[in-house]
Amino acid sequence: MAVPKVCGIETEYGVALRGAADANPVLASSMLINGYVEHRKIGWDFDDESPGRDARGFAREGAAPPEVETHLVNTVLTNGARYYVDHAHPEYSTPECSDALELVCADKAGERVLARSMQAARRILPAGQEIVVYKNNSDGKGNSYGTHENYLVDRSVPFATLVRHLLPWFVSRQVFTGAGKVGAENGANQVGFQISQRADFFEEEVGLETTLKRPIVNTRDEPHADPQKYRRLHVIAGDANLCEVATLLKVGTTAIVLALIEDEFVDKDLSVVGPVAAMRVVSHDPTCRATVELGDGGTCTAVELQYEFLRLARKYADETGLEACGGEEVGNLVLDRWEATLGALERDPSTLEGQLDWVTKLGLLRAYVERDGLDWEDSKLSLLDLQYHDIRPDRSLYERLVRAGKVERLVDEAEVITAMTEPPSSTRAFFRGRCLARWPDAIVAANWDSLILDVGSDPLRRIPMLEPLRGSKAHVDALFEECTTPAELVARLAS
């Protein structure tokens, strides 16, 4: 039986400091986080960090494992999220969620945290300067920054099995995960508009790197949970989404596909010949008619390949249920929206305006092309592309479309605002968030799978949190009510 698909999204935001002579992105990113976090910032516990560990059980010659930067600004929020400077970007990692809809809300809350951070930074910056962030994945000049998804996976599933089935999955799911991009980069053939921000940047099928020679399947083996039982699948082959329907589909379908791989429901060879090239072929064709070559002979479109996965998912839901995929309600919502989306992509992708980012953006760009008689090289289209992702509410073109009623929302804005400070109740993020809200001064450091507390007497106490679903509201709410000090909490947990 598949393990529960606990999931989260890390987003590196693009950052620009306007009106300054020498804009330093690290400084700008730090300013955002410092501006947002008024209380003391919580340190990160780096003891168990091992981003260089490879899921295949080896480190390749010449591979460059990512470095852990311990000196940059970092904090953990009361909603259980991590907010920090990663390389030269502000990065927001959502708290762990137990279903795709909960993650849609947590991801949107991250956008609001960044928006508020920009406001805060404006108050401390000299007049005429402003920090602006973009939730996208490319600067259009060959530089990409990532949006990474994470899913809990059973350790007993051979990694090679995951790789085999996930390659065609990541190639084909772009038709709904793509955020759309004007032009091509990184040596890819030129194109007016393509489906994905990221497709041009993948150069390998499998590997450990995330910044050079990016692989479609990333092998970072850092479970942030009991390493005997779990993997954390670190997905780098996805775009940053603003459309809530796109995020729901991206996370919800991937969770179901992982569960059905774990439970051995894949009944045929779905492999694609040359997946790296196929990523681009799919992304470069907004009509969704381009075909890729299949491992067992023949060709098919990305949508047709998706229908194969959908067939397996329906079978899985019928025979096993969707308990491991966030429950029946959300799981069935995902299946129905997935099926409707594939049908629409086959008939006429433009009917998905307001649901998928790439379709929504393309609709906007086409309207400009038509009204202003622009050709696809016009820099105005690149500007519209970029500003679609602007996170300032008054400047974001995506937000304009929301306000005009052109975009479907799945979560109430009130819930999003709550999720800026309140943790999800269904995972260990609840325990982390509540500890921080209750005893911020006692938390010395945190990590996904631990908290270090200063209870007023030596030594510091480290609370391991190796089970992602333990520490939920159902588990620990009473504990928080009964304990009045962190020392009591530690004593109760030890007993």
């Binding site: 970007h89 920054y145 009204r371 820099s379 690149s382 500007l383 970029l386 500003q387 073109l397």
Partner: protein, 64 residues
Amino acid sequence: MPEREQKKKPAPKERVEETAEVDAPAKQGEKIKEELDDLLDEIDSVLEENAEEFVRNYVQKGGE
């Protein structure tokens, strides 16, 4: 005044409006175009100035 009465919904508008003829397709198309034009005008008003320079200056080094 009792609260219930204060919350009472305004009387429905005249029937004439509700039963007004369904717009002919051409008329609807015109309306959609007008709405789109309004939206593009609104977007024009928040678009950054000098697209070429703006796009050129957006450079992101280092990530992931």
